[in-house]
Structures are given as C-alpha cells and as structure tokens.
Symmetry: C2
Subunit: 154 residues, 2 copies
Amino acid sequence: MTEMAGRPGTSGGLVLRAGQFIFAAACICAMSSAPGFTNYTAFCYLIASMGLQALWSLGLACLDCYALILKRDLQQAFFMSLFVVGDWVTAILSFAAACSAGGVVVLFERDAYFCRRDPQLPCGRFEVATAFAFLSCACSAASALVVFWLLASL
Amino acid sequence: MTEMAGRPGTSGGLVLRAGQFIFAAACICAMSSAPGFTNYTAFCYLIASMGLQALWSLGLACLDCYALILKRDLQQAFFMSLFVVGDWVTAILSFAAACSAGGVVVLFERDAYFCRRDPQLPCGRFEVATAFAFLSCACSAASALVVFWLLASL
C-alpha cells in the first residue's frame, strides 16, 4: 500500500501538486480578468479558495522537489497527518467554491438568461474559471485520497 | 481501529444513517413546499441528490438494524467496498448540490437582492432547505470517512 502512485515525495505526487497549482492559478487569472466579478460572493469566494489552494500546492510541490532531489522519505506519521489535514481542508474548500460558482454560472446561463440579456456580463470567463476550479479540485481530491489512504494504512 | 464509533452495523452507524435520512427528507419537504423552485436548476439538482441520499441512507439504516438485531458483523471487505463506493458517491453529490444551492441562495439574498425586490420568492424556504442539505452532508461525510478508514485498515 505504501507504493501507491501519487504519494508525497515522488514524481507522481509532484505531478498532482503541479496540476493543482496550474489549474488554480489559471482559474484565478480567468476570473480576475472578468470585469465585475467582485459583485458576486460565489466568485470572490472562488478566488479566495483557489488562492489558498495555489499556495498550499506550491508549498507541497517544493517539498516534493526537496524529497526527490535529496531522496528523503516523507512517509512518516507527522508529515502524513499534516498532509491529510491540509489536503482535506483545501480540497473541501475548493470543491465547495467550484460548486457554488457552478450553481451561479448555470443560473446566469440557463435559468435567468442573464448572459443573453446582458451581453456585457463576461459569462464565458466565469465558465472557464469554474472549469479550471473543477480541474484543480480533481487533482486535489486525488492527493487527499492518497494521503488519507496512506495514513490509514501506516 | 475496527472499534471506531459510527462504523456500519453498530448503533453509532445507525444514528448517522438516521441523521442523513431525516435531514435529507426535511430538505426535500422544505424545498418542494417552495413554489417556483423548479425554475432553478440548482434547486432541482438539490432535490434529486437529496432523494438519492435519502434512499441510500434508508437502505443502509435497514441493514444496520438487521445487523444489530441478528448480531451480524458487516466489517467484511465486500460490504466495506460497497459502503465506501455508495457513501462517497452520495456524499460528493449531496455536497455539490448543497454548495451550488448555497451559491444561488447567497446570490438571491445578498448580491442581486432578488429576495427584497420580489417578496413572492420563497427565499426563507430555499435557505432552510439548503441548511438541511448541509446537515445531511455532514452526517454523510462522517459515514464516508469512517468506512474509508475501515477499508484502508482492513
């Protein structure tokens, strides 16, 4: 069980962290380039939670690089507990933010027809940012499940 | 680890299942009593996912009762794998539905002031239904974590 792909301190783990960081950063860029996003709480919350996700993933990616270069083992109970707490908190916050932004985007697009009525509303950018947030969540969920499984089997 | 509170086939597990079912049913009642909820995709999705949650929790609660009355042990790899898949799918769907409904409720209440502008909109019921959905999710997340932990430590 301790040879799982994507565990911390391996190249698989580094790829997952890089994915989380890149998608979170892309989400922030797409959303912050959409004028007027600050009028909507769900989109502000998305930016905040993706910012936290990007910081956490960048930190863990650096730790993975350190472990890979110096061939250190990160699979100790202390590190695993820290990764589990951090990964689960960031994954849950990101998923909540992505879903609430998704709910608002669907409302704009399909339920209230805001996008058709107001062509100034940057619906395309809201959609792209929400899609990137879900991709970041998917990478984050994979990391969270791997570390939880590793902690449980320690 | 196999003596964890809330594991399937124990009274703790039954309490968690009962909580999931009661809150999911309360969410469905509150939302379906709100006129016009079918105009909003997020609220329709909330009803659908809470319906699935209620059915799954009721089934598992019956299985817990059976195990408690006949003193059967449900901690076998087959049952655990089944519980993990079902619990995680329902927990993730419910959480996504609760968050997207939450995003729409916040938009109605704070961002677009729909609730003030249109007193016919049953915002109070939307809020109550969303709160019940989050309570059901909390119980569901507890069950999902317990069974995942148990499967990992089998």
